[in-house]
């Protein structure tokens, strides 16, 4: 199968006054359809720039980016916006939901920009919320939801347009360990059931263990790119984590007895 993401000699140079910053130095990589990839690296390693280019939010200084067989490295702003809308879903560390807007409206937002009819929009948004288990919170305002729930609304928003790729920028960075695993469970499910390709940036090694492949960046280059050996299954991990802190304390109490 042809790779869904194919980048070749991707270079990005920022100008900061007189100084040139090489954020990416001739990066080449492929991502196959249905892959679940973690991008890792220290800050300043170029992984954010790489993600921005993959997400069609930025264009490379030189090099090529083929998305689904199509060269997108030279498209205009509006053409990139259309590709983001149709092919991509974004998940951010800060959730980035619109405040004082209901969960349903947040999930409907991407469809506002592609002429989906009102009824279809609502149906699709409710379906997406059902997938992340938040159908009963559809009419809650986003700021009334917990962090984990907000991130699940964001995932629903990312998958509502049936994207071929979901790009997640540290999706668990602001969550506690149990909700992090819950989010990973949803992502694994989307990856396996719907075959959505997921590229995720993370700092945490144990979170990267839930993916199939880890790509490590340093100084604008790929340092290593390897398959994950003993991949974790989020559902199994969830079963071992107590639901609440009280339970956890109780468990510990039993052991000490």
């Amino acid at each position: 199968m042809a790779p869904i993401i194919h980048v070749e000699n991707l270079t990005k140079i920022y100008r900061m006054g007189d100084v040139e910053v090489h954020a990416l130095r001739k990066v080449s990589a492929d991502v196959e359809p249905g892959e679940f990839v973690a991008i890792m690296g220290a800050s300043g390693s170029g992984k954010s720039t790489f993600m921005n280019i993959l997400g069609c939010l930025d264009t490379p200084t030189s090099g090529q980016y083929h998305l689904d067989g199509k060269d997108v490295s030279t498209l205009s702003r509006d053409e990139l916006a259309a590709i983001r809308n149709r092919k991509m879903g974004f998940i951010f560390q800060q959730f980035n939901l619109l405040t004082r807007t209901t969960a349903l409206e947040n999930v409907e937002l991407p469809m506002m920009y592609n002429n989906t009819s009102n009824r279809e929009r609502e149906e699709k948004a409710l379906e997406a919320l059902r997938i992340v288990g938040l159908a009963d919170r559809a009419h809650h305002y986003s700021n009334q939801l917990s962090g984990g729930q907000q991130q699940r609304v964001a995932i629903a928003r990312a998958l509502v347009n049936n994207p071929s790729i979901i790009l997640a920028d540290e999706p668990t960075g602001n969550l506690d360990s149990r909700t992090s695993v819950e989010v990973m469970e949803i992502l694994q499910r989307l990856n396996q059931d719907k075959g959505i390709t997921i590229v995720m940036v993370t700092h945490e090694k144990d979170i990267a263990q839930f993916t199939q492949r880890n790509v490590f960046f340093r100084d604008g280059k790929i340092l290593f790119d390897r398959e994950v050996e003993d991949r974790l299954d989020a559902q199994q991990v969830l079963a071992t984590i107590p639901e609440t802190l009280e339970e956890e304390l109780l468990e510990n109490g039993k052991e000490t007895k």
């Binding site: 921005n52 939010l57 702003r77 509006d78 916006a81 619109l98 937002l109 920009y113």
Partner: protein
């Protein structure tokens, strides 16, 4: 993105900051309502001036005796004594553009009835006068052509004279003394009120011109002729025909100066309305300044709003909003602000104008055009002052906008 949804988004965004949106609108509200009030006051003044001039009669021309040259010295206007009642007859006979004409002789004199006395102006005319000025009696009748021919001692009174001489009586049929001569009151005129830039038209006694000339003033010339043209567009024809006729009758040589001059009501109307127009323009432009200040208020708030919502703009862009979607969103917001402000301003302005005409008794005139114009103007302000902030939002870099705290 469809327009309906954009409108909804804009409303939601404005509702989220109710106080701020309200205060921003206030600028436009004050601007629009003051423009409407000012223009309606100006237009009202213009309409009332026009009405007053019209109340002097329709299609009217005044022929007044001009200045006389005596030993090379030009005398005051009206000093020439060449105009006679025969001139009036000739005008009626020979000028096809003239419908009615009356000699005009004026004077003033003391009036006595019983113990009451009053001094008022005396006007000597023919019955045509009442037709030209479209002036009816409220009781009794006006005098007739035969009263004129017989120089009868009959008079018609204005309401002001009646109020002074007959406070509790019906004046019809009573005898009053004008400069000592007894006159019979045959009619009372309808009140016309203060003339535009002139005397109180109700404080007058109207008698046949022959009576005034022969029995009171003892003179043969008249001071002027009041003429009505057949129609509005024949006023200038009438003017020409009268000029030609009078020059011939007064034997004025070619190149010689007229011994009379003709003033028309349209001249007066034009002057008065041009003054009123200047006033309206002045009031309107002062009020427009507040409208522009209101517009700058919108721009200010939109700039703040764009900055505050930078992250929202970034999110929308990441989710597929094109530059023009963002541009439209913020333009519509500014447009909605100014449109609602404009509508409220119109309501306030119209009721303000009504209040002014009720309390201050000024006549105001609210024209449909001024309302349409102010809606257009306030929307234009929204678009004009909303464009810069909206373009700023549309040109944001999505990556930087997403990172904005």
């Amino acid at each position: 993105m469809n327009l309906l949804f954009t409108m909804k988004t804009a409303f939601m965004a404005l509702l989220r900051n109710r106080l701020r949106s309200g205060l921003t609108m206030l600028g436009i509200i004050i601007g629009i309502s003051s423009v409407i009030v000012m223009i309606s006051v100006g237009q009202g003044a213009k309409a009332s001036i026009e009405n007053q001039i019209k109340s002097m009669g329709t299609n009217m021309l005044m022929v007044m005796s001009g200045s006389m040259k005596s030993m090379g010295q030009r005398q005051a206007a009206g000093s020439s004594q060449t105009m006679t009642p025969e001139d009036v007859e000739a005008i009626l006979k020979e000028c096809p553009a003239v419908l009615n004409a009356t000699p005009n002789v004026s004077s003033s004199g003391s009036l006595v009835y019983g113990n009451a006395n009053w001094t008022s102006s005396l006007l000597g005319v023919s019955p045509d006068y009442f037709i030209i000025r479209d002036w009816q009696t409220s009781s009794g009748t006006v005098f007739t052509e035969s009263d004129v021919n017989g120089a009868n001692k009959v008079c018609v009174l204005g309401t002001e004279v009646v109020a002074n001489l007959f406070p509790n009586e019906d004046p019809i049929g009573k005898m009053i003394r004008i400069k000592g001569i007894p006159f019979k009151v045959v009619g009372v005129m309808v009140s016309k009120g203060q003339a535009a830039m002139g005397p109180n038209q109700d404080d007058t006694v109207i008698i046949p011109y022959t009576t005034l000339m022969k029995r009171i003033l003892n003179q043969t010339n008249i001071s002027g002729i009041m003429v009505s043209a057949v129609s509005q567009d024949q006023i200038s024809d009438a003017k020409e025909q009268i000029t030609e006729l009078l020059r011939a009758r007064h034997r004025i040589k070619k190149g010689g100066e007229d011994d009379f001059f003709i003033g028309s009501q349209t001249d007066m109307t034009n002057k008065a309305t041009s003054i009123a127009n200047v006033m309206t323009l002045l009031l309107g432009s002062v009020a427009s300044i507040s409208l522009i200040v209101g517009g700058i208020g919108i721009m200010n708030i939109m700039l703040v709003s764009v900055r505050e919502r930078t992250r929202e703009i970034g999110i929308r862009m990441a989710l597929g909003a094109r530059s023009r979607d963002i541009l439209l969103q913020f333009m519509v917001e500014a447009f909605v602000l100014s449109l609602i402000g404009g509508l409220v301003g119109i309501i306030l302005g119209v009721s303000g104008a009504m209040l002014i005409s009720k309390i201050a008794k000024w006549s105001t005139y609210i024209s449909f055009i001024s309302i349409v114009l102010s809606i257009g103007f306030s929307s234009a302000i929204g678009i004009f002052f909303g464009f810069y902030p909206a373009r700023m939002a549309a040109q944001l870099n999505p990556i930087e906008a997403l990172r904005f705290e």
